[in-house]
């Protein structure tokens, strides 16, 4: 017995949509760069959940392999992004994104 027999696919679609929107809300709502990063991770995970749901409802393992690649991309993104964040903190002494307006037109 698994989720597939008892739970409609739409519920998973709805759940990952809500999680994705919460991630978007976090990016728009907060000014701390670390929290914004975490919200981006949340969005990536919502997409992962969607891919896994489709993969197991359609009995196709390709969706789950995509999730591997998304994890690799997420790890690379986090590594470089947090290194950049450290540099920003060293130069401006804050993690507030509003201090990074030098390139703003």
């Amino acid at each position: 017995m698994s989720a597939i027999q008892t739970i409609p696919l739409e519920w998973y679609l709805l759940l990952s949509t809500v999680l994705f929107t919460i991630g978007v809300l976090g990016v728009l709502f907060r000014r701390n760069a670390i929290i914004i990063f975490m919200s981006i991770e949340l969005m990536l995970n919502a997409v992962n959940l969607l891919l896994v749901a489709f993969s197991s409802y359609l009995s196709d393992s390709k969706g789950q392999v995509f999730v591997f690649f998304i994890m690799a991309v997420a790890a690379a993104e986090v590594a470089v992004g947090l290194a950049i964040l450290m540099m920003v903190y060293r130069n401006t002494n804050s993690s507030d994104i509003n201090t990074l307006n030098k390139l703003k037109w």
Binding site: M1, S2, A3, I4, T6, I7, L9, E10, Y12, L13, L14, L15, T17, V18, L19, F20, T21, I22, G23, L25, L28, F29, R30, R31, I34, I35, M38, S39, L42, N45, N48, L49, V52, S55, S56, L58, S59, S61, K62, Q64, V65, F68, F69, M71, A72, V73, A75, A76, V78, A79, V80, L82, A83, I84, L85, M86, M87, Y89, S94, D96
Partner: protein, 166 residues
């Protein structure tokens, strides 16, 4: 029956923890709530018969990436409440924007109603053998490209991190 209740429980917890990540004042609390949200998502993977992915998800996200976030917060020394608040207008517009995004996305889910799930249900999809077969036969090029991506991430992180030591 049990799986339905588990789905409700895990979904409720996932959404609640995600909201706590966004709205908690202390960044360390945010990180810890994010760990909990990742655990609930791993629970969903188990429900969806993606067992190996659940294990990998916990290893990578809850294990590695969260450690990295905690390290950064420790390094940044954020114990004082430094985050200046956005103006009420900006917060309201953020809420309105993401709310309308939610409405649009949910509206677009109507198109998914016609999706038929597979006739023969295969419980072994999430097993490591099947994933390995797909990964190493159909997704060979992305696999090799991802190693280049990891290499470039390594070089970038060392470049940025080393510079600030000196």
């Amino acid at each position: 029956m049990i799986t339905t209740y588990l789905f409700y429980l895990l979904s409720f917890l996932a959404i609640m923890f995600a909201l706590m990540v966004v709205f908690s004042k202390n960044p360390i609390h945010s990180v810890l709530y994010l760990v909990l949200a990742f655990f609930t998502i791993a629970g969903h993977y188990v429900l969806l018969n993606a067992q190996f992915l659940a294990a990998v998800h916990i290893i990578v996200y809850a294990g590695a990436i969260m450690v990295l976030f905690l390290f950064v917060i420790m390094l940044l020394n954020l114990n004082k409440e430094t985050e200046p608040h956005k103006s009420v207008w900006l917060k309201a517009s953020a809420a309105v924007a993401s709310g309308s995004l939610l409405v649009v996305l949910v509206g677009s889910l109507k198109g998914a109603a016609g999706i038929q799930s597979a006739k023969t249900f295969d419980a072994s999809i999430g097993l490591i053998e099947n994933l390995g077969q797909t990964l190493f036969n159909d997704f060979l090029l992305p696999f090799e490209v991802s190693s280049i991506l990891l290499l470039s991430a390594m070089v970038g992180a060392v470049m940025l991190g080393k510079k600030s030591i000196k």
